[in-house]
Symmetry: C2
Subunit: 110 residues, 2 copies
């Protein structure tokens, strides 16, 4: 596995162990694992020069989310877009979330 962004999504049916998550996070240096309401999530904040660029990026991420049928939380504000991936039905992080994070990074060309 060289590039996470080239992997296809598949439903593994179980959350990653902390060691597995740490190893994958190492490939995504801009992302961090946060725990919200007891659920581990993968989050990155992207910076932009205005509101509209942030909204354009939100739409780009929305498009890959729809394509993968895997949906993040997107927080759009003036100059920033925060993206959070996690696996809803299992309440935690799977490999798929890291793959989506890597694909999200590829959409950022600002």
């Amino acid at each position: 596995m060289e590039r996470l962004s080239e992997e296809k999504l598949f439903n593994q049916g179980k959350n990653l162990s902390d060691n597995e998550a740490s190893a994958l996070l190492h490939k995504l240096p801009e992302w961090e694992i946060l725990t919200k309401n007891g659920i581990q999530q993968l989050e990155r904040v992207y910076k932009f020069k205005n509101f509209n660029d942030a909204l354009i990026f939100t739409n780009r991420v929305g498009a890959i989310a729809e394509e993968a049928d895997h949906h993040p939380t997107l927080i759009t504000e003036w100059g920033r877009c925060s993206v959070t991936w996690w696996t809803h039905n299992l309440g935690g992080l799977q490999r798929n979330d890291f793959i989506m994070a890597a694909k999200t990074d590829q959409l950022y060309d600002y």
Copy 2:
């Protein structure tokens, strides 16, 4: 002032008193005033039947924000979009925020 959504924005240069904010909130029954990091904000969560409808709504709100040059925080998720208005440079609520909230309600036809 019959309909907030028909008012034009203007910069008043001062935050509303609690009484003024309560009177305006009365016209927007779906909204609530929250205090985040010491700053009063006006928030409503809109429900949708999927992710894409939430994203379409996010774009509608983004368009009126750009037009007014007054920008909210938009949280887009599967089945919901949370909209938060407040006046950034004064760190609180002005009449403009309530006008934008009323205009946001007019965009919701689900």
